[in-house]
């Protein structure tokens, strides 16, 4: 009987590993659709940012209460993995609490900590469900945010309920195990005297007082299997869910933009054009790597700005997969606050949805497949793009340094430079700058007239 369980366990583990590997390959292929961009400079500063913002959860503590609650789930997730390691080894080797005799003095302490965290996680997940569905925190409500469609809300509920069930399974498994140990049944008796009752589960023992030994063993096994298969299923599910942020949050922060928020990225391909048109020596784009055998620049320069996900940078695409749709960006967006259609969260969700659509196309038709859709227009409209004030509130609000504004700007560039689709009043502003050196229609010769008033009496 034991050996059957071991075989089933190894098969389940291998299947999970194989499936997750396939998912990782597919997602990383999707991220690599983006243009190259060096985000490996200043390694020390990047590491520091990651320690502070990802590991330290610094930005989550903007709201201290929510920060603490999120920290409980986060710490629980990280630390309970030590217990998962034991469960994995038990499953493979057919053992029972493998570590208990080996690290006997600290084992009960560790399990006590896991149990406290389990109760913490369980409590916080219940609170989070209440916040979403009973207290109705504004940024999660579909009436107010059109990107909060059915799936994002279901996704959130699935995650929270799954975590609650996993924690219940862990706690009741410990309890049934303790009762069996007390009764000295079968191999459970081996740990009698080695480990005591645990901090939380000792109080749950009355739940199982009326169970027969057989029923109790059955419950212990079911809880154990539910817990570990649940974790495996959850790991697979995460790759389809907004909850992918538990993995990608860390690299996403590591590769975040280190420059001042106000700085918009330069377009060197345009610098060259500008220098040529002003009759200046060309200082960019002339490195040897960009010239062909005859020393000529390649004739085709890429698109100006972004129409679809391929035109964005890989970091924009990683941002999209890292986004957990918490909506703090949107809640801070002045355009959204005042009822405009723009929602920075939707920009990130649209980018991911578009990538998923391309993945579906790949699966059905091979990796060369191209459809005739694009991120711009099919997902994100001009009305949304034009509403952005570039105020950086969304960039500032994101707990894991996602930058929705960068995507908005690249899409604007495409609309303005490739499609000449700027709003008419922007075109007027452009031509004023071009002709009058100011965004208004004043004569450049009048620019210094203010100085005549400097000595006038107030």
């Amino acid at each position: 009987m034991e050996i059957v369980q071991q075989i089933v366990f190894v098969v389940a583990l291998a299947a999970t590993g194989w499936y997750i590997t396939k998912r990782i390959q597919l997602i990383s292929r999707a991220i690599r659709l983006g243009r190259s961009e060096n985000r490996t400079d200043h390694a020390d500063e990047r590491l520091r940012t990651m320690l502070l913002v990802a590991f330290g959860q610094k930005k989550m503590f903007t709201n201290p209460l929510v920060g603490v609650m999120h920290f409980v789930i986060y710490a629980g997730f990280l630390i309970v993995n030590i217990e998962v390691l034991e469960i994995m080894l038990d499953g493979i080797l057919g053992t029972h609490r493998l570590f208990a005799p080996v690290i006997a003095p600290v084992y009960p302490f560790l399990i006590d900590v896991f149990e406290i965290l389990a109760v913490g996680v369980l409590t916080v997940c219940v609170v989070f469900l209440c916040r979403r569905f009973i207290v109705k925190v504004n940024r999660f409500q579909p009436e107010r945010h059109r990107e909060m469609t059915r799936w994002p809300r279901t996704d959130a509920a699935i995650i929270l309920i799954a975590e609650i069930l996993l924690m219940i399974a862990f706690l009741t498994w410990n309890t049934s195990d303790s009762v069996l140990r007390d009764r000295g049944v079968g191999h459970y008796a081996a740990l009698q005297g080695v480990i005591p009752d645990f901090l939380i589960s000792q109080y749950l023992k009355p739940l199982f007082i009326n169970f027969s030994d057989t029923a109790l063993i059955a419950y212990e096994r079911i809880a154990w299997w539910f817990h570990i298969l649940g974790i495996m299923a959850f790991a697979v599910y995460v790759t389809y869910s907004k909850h992918l942020h538990i993995a990608l949050g860390f690299p996403n922060v590591y590769f975040s933009d280190l420059k001042p928020k106000g700085e918009i990225q330069n377009m060197p391909e345009i610098t060259k054009e500008v220098q040529l048109s002003l009759g200046l020596p060309v200082t960019t784009g002339t490195d040897d790597s960009q010239t062909d055998d005859n020393g000529q620049q390649p004739a085709e320069i890429g698109r100006f700005g972004a129409k679809d996900v391929q035109d964005l940078k890989w970091i924009n695409l990683m941002n999209a997969y890292s986004c957990t749709e918490c909506g703090r960006c949107t809640a801070a967006c002045p355009a959204n606050i005042t009822g405009k259609k723009l929602s920075p969260r939707k920009i990130m969700m649209d980018t991911r949805d578009r990538l998923e659509e391309i993945q579906q196309g790949w699966k059905a038709n091979g990796y060369d497949y191209k459809d005739d859709k694009s991120l711009l227009n099919d997902y994100i409209t001009a009305e949304e793009l034009n509403a952005c004030t570039t105020c950086q509130a969304c960039v500032n609000a994101c707990p894991i340094n996602i930058n929705p504004l960068d995507i908005i700007l690249q899409l604007r560039r495409y609309r303005v430079m490739e499609e000449s689709q700027a709003p008419a009043s922007w075109n007027a502003m452009f031509s004023n700058i071009e002709n009058n050196m100011a965004p208004w229609k004043f004569s450049p010769t009048d620019r210094f007239n203010w100085a005549n008033q400097v000595n006038e009496v107030k």
Binding site: P334, T338, C391, M429, F430, A438, F448, A451
Partner: protein, 266 residues
């Protein structure tokens, strides 16, 4: 008060002709040059510069839009045309240090020009005034008294979030000896006036209300009689907001440089 004042506004061209170099270049910006309301700020700042005896100069008619609104609206080509031409002029005069009252010019000159060949020490006029106060070059004088007046400061995105300048304008306002009251959304959480990213130059998208009205409501709810700003676009947006709320008789919008000039009796 009789005005025997004789404020001077030297240009870089004049200085160069005389074989001189100023300590700082005052970058006036398009709004500071053409907007009737913001011209008063430019004048106030120039009076302060004269008053403390800083050797400064302006570009005058040689100045041109930094290209900020064009870049943010997506017209990278136009931005770079402006930037590269401006850099030629600035480098031609061997400019090292620039002060400007416009956070958009400040951000662009400071962060975006270096990559195109223009590297300068760029400071915002709030930082400049803060330094003058810290150094004791601006002292409390017999100008207008601010005692008992409630002032609230509106953070501009391109000064605050974009470049993390939060304390300088507040320090300047502290020097007025007024009662500084903060709005609900301040500093990194400050709410935009609604003008950035090229919004100033077009009608807003349809929505429930305009951003400047939302922000003005927040400013008015502090009970302040003065809304202090440090940006020409915030100035217009907040002034329009105050008008929209029919409060222009009781609530005034001033730039921090104007408040210092009033305090100094300039």
């Amino acid at each position: 008060m009789p005005t025997e004042t004789n404020y001077k506004v030297p240009t870089m061209a004049d200085m160069a002709a005389a074989g001189e170099e100023p300590e700082i270049l005052f970058w006036v910006g398009c709004a500071g040059s053409f907007d009737d309301r913001y011209k008063r700020v430019t004048i106030a700042f120039v009076r302060i510069l004269n008053h403390v005896g800083i050797k400064f100069a302006v570009l005058g008619t040689e100045e041109s839009c930094t290209g900020d609104p064009a870049r943010r609206a997506g017209n990278e080509f136009l931005f770079q045309m402006q930037a590269v031409s401006n850099i030629q002029i600035l480098n031609g005069y061997n400019v090292k240090k620039i002060v400007t009252a416009c956070p958009h010019c400040f951000n662009t000159l400071k962060n975006e020009y270096p990559e195109l060949g223009g590297t300068y020490e760029v400071i915002h006029h709030s930082q400049f005034l803060q330094n003058l106060i810290n150094e004791g070059r601006i002292k409390v004088k017999d100008g207008q008294s601010f005692k008992g007046r409630k002032i609230t400061f509106h953070d501009s995105c391109y000064l605050g979030r974009a470049n993390k300048v939060y304390e300088a304008p507040r320090d300047v306002l502290e020097a007025l000896d007024a009662d500084l009251v903060e709005m609900k959304r301040v500093k990194a959480n400050g709410l935009c006036c609604g003008a950035g990213g090229g919004q100033y130059f077009k009608e807003p998208e349809p929505g429930k209300k305009d951003v400047n009205v939302e922000r003005t409501e927040e400013a008015l709810s502090t009970g302040a009689d003065t809304i202090a700003v440090a940006c020409p676009f915030c100035m217009t947006m907040m002034s329009d907001g105050v008008k929209n709320k029919n409060r222009e008789d009781s609530v005034r919008v001033y730039d921090i440089a104007e408040l210092i000039a009033q305090k100094e009796g300039l």
